[in-house]
Amino acid sequence: MSIEKRMLARELKLAAARPGDIFKPMWFLMLVISMVPLALSPDSVLLADIGSAMIWVATLLALLLNTEHLFQSDFSDGVLEQWLLLFLDRPLAWLVGLKLIVHWLFHVVPLICITPIAGLMLSVPTDVLIALLMTLVVATPALTCFSGLGAALTLGSSRSGILGVLVMMPLFVPVVILAAGVLIRATDGSEILPLMALLGAFSLVAATLVPIAVSAAIRLNIGGSN
């Protein structure tokens, strides 16, 4: 069996064994969205105005919730160090990339899939909802990569979750700003393609470079641990 097949088979089985990791962030997203009209106002004009931005931020937080411990259990079980020892003829960055892709497919895509329901709950207009979905599809690879890097950097420290998010905050900001730009333009009915292209570029650069940084962070943490 090739190394990639072994990696993928393991990641898929792990995802299947931990359904809570998939559903918890979805619950979180729906909970936040259903609280907004209660806390703010049930006025559908107001909700339609701020709805898409609320959903975007809630999705970002839900994504952080399930990515902050991406490497933690493999690290504490000692399986992560076996990656370094067993798969000598593959770059670690490539294996990290595979793990990030599987994570995005199984933990982030389900989140994106339920955002239309959230959009209906906040009476977001259809064209804005479509723009929202597009920004999420294009931007979440970058967000997944960045929070994965935060998780890898803070592997060795005991309360790693929030620290990793804090470290990566500056990288989330441009993505959020670009996505908000797209949403504003979609609400106005003006051209969204240039900003979408920028968002896409952000994700592509992140997907190319972040696995290298993650693998360096993993080596660093494994070298310093017992």
Binding site: M1, K13, L14, D77, G78, L85, G223, N226
Partner: protein, 202 residues
């Protein structure tokens, strides 16, 4: 399987961690058929030494070679089982081993029978006892093709039968031309090993 003769050379290796000198100018050589127990009090640097030889901890000072070649060239000849569980709690016994060894089901199943986990193939590791989990991690030895074994606390949580099984396996491995380094605080009865005492840096 009979291994080609292999030699492991550790020369003038020193290690400092967190401003403490763990060992200084440590040199020894092992050849096919050798078993070495690395001993010493807690915190003496046993795990660090083993992780250095496995290539997980950078050698800061000194040289480690396998057959006169640098360690990084020969890492596929080393099998390292650390003191962490080495297996994922959320996966079944057989999935863990298939991932770690790359072997197909029949080979892995035989290894599980050898370590006394017959009938536990499809149990999740988190459902096993600690000793059974350890047996699962050690089952890798039964599928291993690496001549150099590095085992950190392999006897932890094992019952008498499994200790004897493991001793027999290590003896068979070195009889085939392999070599083995391990740490333990309990003395194995049926192994013929040398001891390296760490923790006497003056």
């Amino acid at each position: 399987m009979i291994f080609e003769p292999v030699s492991l050379n550790i020369s003038q290796v020193s290690c400092e961690r967190d401003d403490r000198l763990l060992f200084h100018n440590l040199s020894f050589a092992l050849r096919s058929g050798d078993i070495l127990r690395v001993a010493g009090p807690n915190g003496a640097g046993k795990t660090t030494l083993l992780r250095m030889i496995a290539g997980l901890f950078e050698v800061q000072d000194g040289v480690i070679t396998i057959d006169q070649e640098p360690l990084s060239e020969r890492r596929h000849q080393v099998l390292y089982i650390g003191h962490k569980p080495q297996v994922s709690r959320d996966l079944t016994v057989i999935d863990n081993l298939k991932f770690l060894t790359g072997f197909d089901e029949p080979v892995v199943k035989q290894a599980l029978i050898d370590v006394g986990l017959r009938g536990y193939h499809d149990s999740l590791v988190k459902e096993l006892s600690q000793g059974q989990g350890r047996r699962c991690a050690l089952a890798r030895l039964w599928c291993s093709e690496a001549p150099i074994w590095i085992l950190d606390e392999p006897y932890t949580a094992l019952d008498v039968t499994m200790v004897e099984t493991l001793d027999r396996k290590i003896n068979a491995h070195v009889a085939q031309g392999g070599l083995c380094l391990f740490t333990t605080h309990q003395l194995p009865q049926s192994l013929n090993f040398e001891t390296l005492e760490l923790g006497r840096v003056d």
